[in-house]
Symmetry: C2
Subunit: 337 residues, 2 copies
DNA sequence: ATGAAAGCGCTAACAG
DNA sequence: CTGTTAGCGCTTTCAT
């Protein structure tokens, strides 16, 4: 089996607590003792059992990231990275769990993660059709929890989608555009969809202009729906001179169809998308003007809030909104430039 | 604090072992006793401390997924999902750890994850410029380990990239193409780059045709390099009639530039890419013909191997190769169709 | 059918 | 400076 503290104790001829103290650099010991113990420990390849430590410390030193099974593909990366990095600073480890959404509706079903104590807190990335039952389960769990990108009234960190959409729209307005459309194939249940749309509409209203929203229906957009939406933007008699899109997906689809029809980007049409910085960079090798969705920062801030709640579980913490930044590239320009 | 077993024992008037047995459905007890204990446990909201259980069972019931910080963006999703799902079947939890590659070269530095015992095994997703030191560290750790997508001679599960590339190329050959190019911007250090190139070259050689490789240099391809590569495919005097690309990135970049130049897809040019199924679906809203990189299946198989090694750590297990499938969509057709 | 005792690997309090 | 004792929350003999 694996080497334990007591084996190191035996090998070095010292008692268990002495060895423990030395390996944790606590207390004062003569250099000779220290050196011997450390040497033996190294020789034996001793590694402390983190669980035994945790059980004594009354701390799991572990946080669980709870994710839906139905999120958009590729959404997780930035979030996992941000959470992991912040946790690593405090030597807290990261457990990942996905809940099977389908099963959550069954009355009796409680996912294993919530049946057992394994971590000090729950970080919840669950923003899309949150089952009622799930919220209930989490509240009953009584672990400190922090929600990410969700409409909670406390203990939540979210991307400021309204601000993002406003920033994108105002960038186009600032360039002199007036006919600006908004294109989105986001599922209507996703928390960000109404917010981005609203930010766009607000900015247009403030400028005294009318909004033109081309959004997919309630459900997932079919290929035909998408083609129709692309056409309606590109072939409209009073074609918009600029478009804000929900994500790089819509932007790329649109830009490709613009190329097929000879509509030049950005001379004939400016395009700006929301996108997290990584994704924006790997698409189609074009320099897409974007408003970054600060997933990494959001995840870091949420994890920070989590750690604060673990340290002091009592107070509810107010919602934090993380702003995104405008990243001007080659797909936007003044109209008719 | 949280509710412990002994609190349930006190509340129900039975002893600790009795309560433990009942909650774990072991032993035989009169219905009355059982019911009372279960009721009290529920009332108090008792949740077993998984760590205390683990420490007794001499099993962490946890596997660590070790990832590099320098992988391609969006690479992780399928892998994490596959690992998680397979682990969930056995009620094993998933810990995620990213090692800071930069620091690994420092002689003294050992990442915390490897300093401490926290899990039953190491699943390693580390395929790109693997630091020598890291391999050493892992071997010294003496936990069962399984590598994913890496060139190890045992205890490794990988995508069969040679087969994938051959399948893609043979699809085009089968359609009647003869001038088939290969386009790749993959970093040369990535394990899959030479393999995909080789699979393509093998298939071409077998067909008695000459290979045309357009690959980026040793380092990360600059935008200029990429443009030049796209041009060389599209503007060549003896332009290829079909292209195999390393990933959907290259394919999308190429298809977009084809649209700008009026080169029709697939009439004038067929395009087939390697891509995991998810990614392929979210790009540019075009129906890209692909060979799927079976990340999910690979991750499942690797996790399965991991669990087998945990159960019986002795034997080294032979490398497994996971084949991918051809997914014919709209971007390939016979030449001049 | 139930409880007492021991112990998993470790740390903290207190002696000496 | 170092060792003894106790105990974290739980399970597993082994008595009764």
């Amino acid at each position: 089996m694996t080497i334990t503290l007591s084996q190191v104790a035996k090998a070095s001829g010292y008692s268990l607590p002495t060895v423990s103290q030395i390996l944790n650099s606590k207390g004062r010991f003569p250099k000779q003792t220290r050196d011997l113990v450390l040497k033996k420990a190294r020789e034996l390849g001793y590694r402390p059992n983190a669980l035994a430590q945790a059980i004594r410390h009354q701390r799991f030193d572990c946080v669980t990231l709870l994710m839906s099974t139905q999120n958009r593909p590729y959404y997780h990366t930035g979030i996992i990275d941000g959470v992991h990095d912040r946790l690593a600073q405090d030597n807290v480890s990261l457990e990942i769990a996905r809940l099977p959404d389908e099963k959550l509706t069954d009355e009796g079903f409680v996912p294993r993660i919530l049946q057992v104590l394994r971590s000090d807190g729950l970080l919840i990335e669950y923003n899309h059709r949150i089952p009622e039952r799930m919220i209930e389960l989490i509240e009953n769990h009584h672990l400190p929890s922090v929600w990410m990108n969700s409409k909670q009234s406390a203990n939540c960190v979210r991307v400021d989608d309204i601000q993002l959409a406003r920033t994108a729209t105002e960038h186009l307005l600032g360039l002199g555009h007036q006919r600006i459309a908004y294109l989105s194939f986001a599922p209507s249940s996703h928390y960000s969809r109404p917010e981005r749309e609203q930010g766009y509409c607000n900015a247009m209203a403030d400028a005294g202009l009318s909004a033109v929203v081309r959004a997919a229906g309630q459900r997932v957009a079919s290929p035909e729906d998408r083609e129709a939406a692309y056409r309606s933007v590109l072939e409209d008699a009073a074609r918009p001179t600029a478009v804000v899109t929900y994500s790089a997906n819509e932007a790329c689809g649109l830009i490709y169809r613009a190329a097929l029809k000879g509509v030049r980007i950005p001379e004939d049409l400016s395009v700006i998308a929301f996108e997290d910085s990584v994704r924006g960079k790997v698409t189609m090798d074009i320099a897409l003007t974007m408003v970054t969705v600060p997933l990494l920062e959001m995840a870091r801030a949420a994890t920070d809030m989590m750690l604060r709640r673990i340290a002091d579980p009592l107070p509810s913490l107010p919602v934090e909104r993380i702003p995104g930044e405008l990243n001007i590239q080659a797909t936007t320009a003044p109209p008719g430039a």
